[in-house]
Symmetry: D2
Subunit: 363 residues, 4 copies
């Protein structure tokens, strides 16, 4: 058991608070012999980094990752390889502003974990959200980059994991216009350029009003071979649900047709097969009985609006007295934006874990 680890054969343990000296993680179980250096990880971190547009927190963090263990190179080798020993990733915190926390240190922000932490632990690091801060997700993205290397090492042809935002607030994309290349060309990872433009206007309004909005993100993994996953408590979809629900602010997860499947008939829902094997549809989202079918793995998750808003909300303080609170500071009007690379990372981590588990049991 562990409160801050995820995975079994590919196991990630994260540590660190928003305003502590650093954050990081330890990746245990990575197979040996995989080329790995900071250059394989940093680009993924750069995609999640704060301060990259006006729509994400203005905190300035270079998020420079260092690998402190688990790889080795000497002058006879082309570059560092993983050694099978634990890989420690380390990211220094830089822009942890020493501002006055007087406003929030004794008050519980509604919608935040403040009260729950206090009720559980009796003590909490309230600076920047402490351990609850989305800053922790940088470690996930770093571990996800290593997981991608593992997947490409294990699967001939490679596994591609990518994600897109498909709804912001009440505004969904038009799936008919889906274009993956568009995702990198707008600040929202939106695969539909027209909707991206509309979101820009919408979110600008939200931001100026000091408000916030939620989002839905879709994650897709292609190249996953059939057979990953396990009955009945080691299901691939179960672990994906766990992984995605573990991301800050996530309130729902679905696989394939998801909640819509409730309204389907059995005829509609059955993904018929032809030789290949080929599937004529993918309502299952690439997973049946908890095991991958070889079809693309499709998951979706819902992110609630950022709790930190400029409109005063009613709350209580640690003494139980009623008061109001208003959260100033550098925050994300739509925390779902930065959840896109995090969702990808968690999908990659789950797949790498299951790839190794499957190899262990079934060869």
């Amino acid at each position: 058991m562990s409160f801050n680890s995820f995975g079994h054969m590919f196991r990630v343990t994260t540590w660190g608070e928003s305003h502590g000296p650093a954050i990081g993680c330890v990746i245990d179980g990575c197979p040996p012999g995989i080329p790995l250096s900071e250059a394989d990880i940093q680009p993924w971190l750069d995609r999640r980094r704060p301060g990259t547009s006006k729509f994400v927190t203005q905190r300035q963090e270079p998020d420079t990752v260092r690998i402190l263990s688990g790889t080795f190179a000497d002058e006879r080798m082309a570059g560092p390889l993983t050694t099978g020993t634990p890989i420690a990733l380390h990211i220094d915190n830089q822009d942890a502003r020493s501002k006055d926390y007087g406003g929030i240190r004794d008050k519980f922000r509604p919608g935040h974990a403040d009260y729950a932490y206090w009720a559980k632990y009796g003590v909490r690091d309230y600076r920047g959200g402490g351990r609850q801060s989305a800053r922790e997700t940088a470690s996930r993205v770093g571990a996800g980059a290593v997981a991608r290397k593992v997947l490409n090492h294990l699967v001939p042809g490679g596994v591609t994991v990518r994600a897109a935002m498909i709804q912001m607030g009440p505004h969904a994309i038009d799936r008919a216009r889906w274009d993956w290349s568009a995702c990198e060309q707008n600040p929202f990872w939106c695969p539909d350029p027209q909707t991206a433009e509309r979101w820009g206007d919408y979110l600008e309004g939200v931001r100026k009003a000091g408000s916030s909005t939620g989002a839905i993100i879709e994650v897709l993994a292609e190249g996953v071979p059939p057979g990953w996953g396990a009955p009945l408590y080691g299901k691939l979809d179960q672990d994906l649900a766990s992984a995605l629900m573990s991301i800050n602010a996530v309130k729902g997860v679905e696989i394939g047709a998801g909640f819509a499947a409730a309204a389907f008939s059995g005829e509609d829902n059955a993904d018929e097969m032809r030789s290949g094997p080929q599937f004529l549809s993918n309502h299952a989202g690439g997973i049946l009985g908890g095991i991958s079918t070889g079809q693309p793995v499709v998951a979706r998750f819902a992110v609630k609006p950022t709790s930190s808003i400029l409109t005063p909300r009613r709350t209580i303080d640690v003494q139980g007295h009623e008061t109001d609170i208003l959260t100033k500071g550098r925050h994300d009007p739509c925390v779902g934006i930065r959840a896109v690379p995090v969702g990808e990372a968690m999908m990659a981590i789950v797949l790498a874990d299951h790839a190794l588990r499957h190899r262990g049991q079934c060869g």
Copy 2:
């Protein structure tokens, strides 16, 4: 790691196939000194039992549970108490019909786990679905009954866990008419008597057409104190997502406002607090930052339509040849019905596990 266990401090390991001699589970970590006998478990199993209405499988299974270990009584005691050692529950399979499986043993039923199991293991018990069968959920309900005892033992005032079906196929209930007592008075665990009647007609049509339909179930736990759960990979909502997604045919899970939260503004979403502490709303579904807040814990999950239908579907066989398949036999037109007590059980198991984990770390 384990492929067939769930939980950490309160850990359930299930075993058994649909047409094997028996099914069962081992519950490890149950606290000592709790009164427990079969009479505490059987009523919950009876609620999930097949053959109780025309809307569930006609397989006849008494599902009589036996406790084979982990409790003790002598003549000086009022009745058996848990001893802190593993509790083995055993349920014999009786009505495993020795019918001809020629029709399906070499074909993959679309929407079923047949192909995925075969691709993973190369061998599978196809009789009645083998390990994939919903029959396994009887063990979960048994373990859930023990979890309820644990919760009531630990929490003064007790914890109540109950569930209801809130949508069948495309037909949702009217929440304004919610009446928990109605749930026991219709075969659908429907809290809205008017909708229950409508569902009866609808499902009768589905059944007669040899078709099937999906459902959405809501699970509610009242009495959960604040502080259960843990950052960041031991979150209560994360484990609930994992637990509910581990149930056969489930394709989506949400907590509190769930997917609807994506469309909320930060102002709407924040559950304001007043002294008590009291919350003025419960969009969080009783969980913030992965930790319970003391509000009711609310989860919802979507069940896809049963894959076994009478309309022929295109598929392939184990040699890869194209063919058609039609699944005869005793099946559930809406497998979501029997998922209601299973969802309750999984919620109870997650809560018991977290109650003990919390006590371990925080006293």
Copy 3:
């Protein structure tokens, strides 16, 4: 976490008390496609069975094992194969004599776990030792038989695991006379026929005096390839130490030269290598840095004398009053005898677990 499970990829969970209706275990993670039926397990159980000589408990238990899940055969197959799903083994208790426990139910037998269980749980099944009884080791031997099948399935040439008693009370064997075939020809698993005879006389005296004696057992695994095990908390020797120490009444474990290595010089201790690779000695016991070297894996464990003796001992009762106790009933004058097949089983389980873990991480 689990209190009653052992292993990670090959994971065994046992349940059951000495005088309950049955005992058993669930084996999770067994690879699919391995021929397995009761006939593969029963012979190993028969070796551990009570009542086979006057030197072991006279309790009469056929220890007939049933496989309740995890294997499958149809008429087209040569016999049952493992399916990759959990394997439940079930052994009924038969000769659980309903004698009067008045003598011991309220007293703590010195050297027994009675007081510790009572201090921990506040309630205990005192009948025949309850969960503390060596009866639980039948489940281990059953799981060990499955582990042997896994090892032989994974390693071309197979892995042989066997054990012998090398010391009874103060009387050690002469290693120069070691003959494995002798082990099956005396009731002590003694590889030295001359010493076996001497032990017979010695133990007869112990038995008649109502006393008991300890023993040392050596376990040897041949055919283990290099590379199994892992740094630094997943070491093969560490898991062997854990496995062997988990057997009832064991007080010490050593690997290779063991405690004697403390007196060695570095020159003596180094197992030099020649091409092959060949090792010129095996002080390491086949394990270096926690990883197998390809040499035979050698472990030794010490078993204390049975605590149940006929000489009255001073003790207290549950009220804390001072009293005397004398344990009547059917007991083993040297519980080490029956620990021999159990030691083998635990070695096999550890090796199977590490074989699968190694395959998972390193392919």
Copy 4:
């Protein structure tokens, strides 16, 4: 599962290689509200530090520990408290000499893990032993210091864990002269001043000859309440065996009377009880049935001689060619010396873990 973690409720994951930039660990599950700063940890690290006498490696490492997460203080608090979130300890490597490793990088040092790592992973960091180096034990000592704080927080009166070397090479102490205060007054943690002197002469000879010697260490925990531990695979002695065997170069572990118990009679071995409860002897080493009895917990472990010696030994290289090897460099003639604080640390970690597990299950 994890290859580099130890413990369940108090879980330590270590990372780092001997000649990498740093080493460290993450401690997960520490209860909140315990005062903790570097000053609580550094003194324990200083006891294990290399370069403190001519009898330990001359590598110069200040081993300055930094706490990077998991504690919090603001100006209103007396000092930092644990917050219940993961505690990351970080220790920079400083004196990792960039010497030429040509001599050993392609050869396997007999008695070292070189060959086993290479056989397992196909790649290894040979610099200073890489991950196999005893340098990793600094992380253990750091985690052990935190475990001590946890124990003293949980147990009124506190738990004292200390260790002593009781045999060096063939020379055992005289237990009649045992004096704990002597341990800090010689470089060997020897509780018998006369023997310490003798060891000094002996080890000086070993050192000058470029040889090495083994040792036996005894660890004692006082103040452990009855009830910690669990049947049957979560035994306190089992976890101690695992913990101590996980230390580099350890080849044997025993509890209480240990291997000597094999020669005992049942009468001798039984620790009789008187009211209190009091035990009239402690052959059990404070543990019966895997559960603590309230008596002092006593464990012993054997450390083999350091494998790095100046006398050439026969070996092979990575191509399988036969060759000789001689290990120059800064090494410990008796690595058992530095194992003393490490043994203490592992005992403390096991106890803290079991204290929390017990509280979780039994309240």
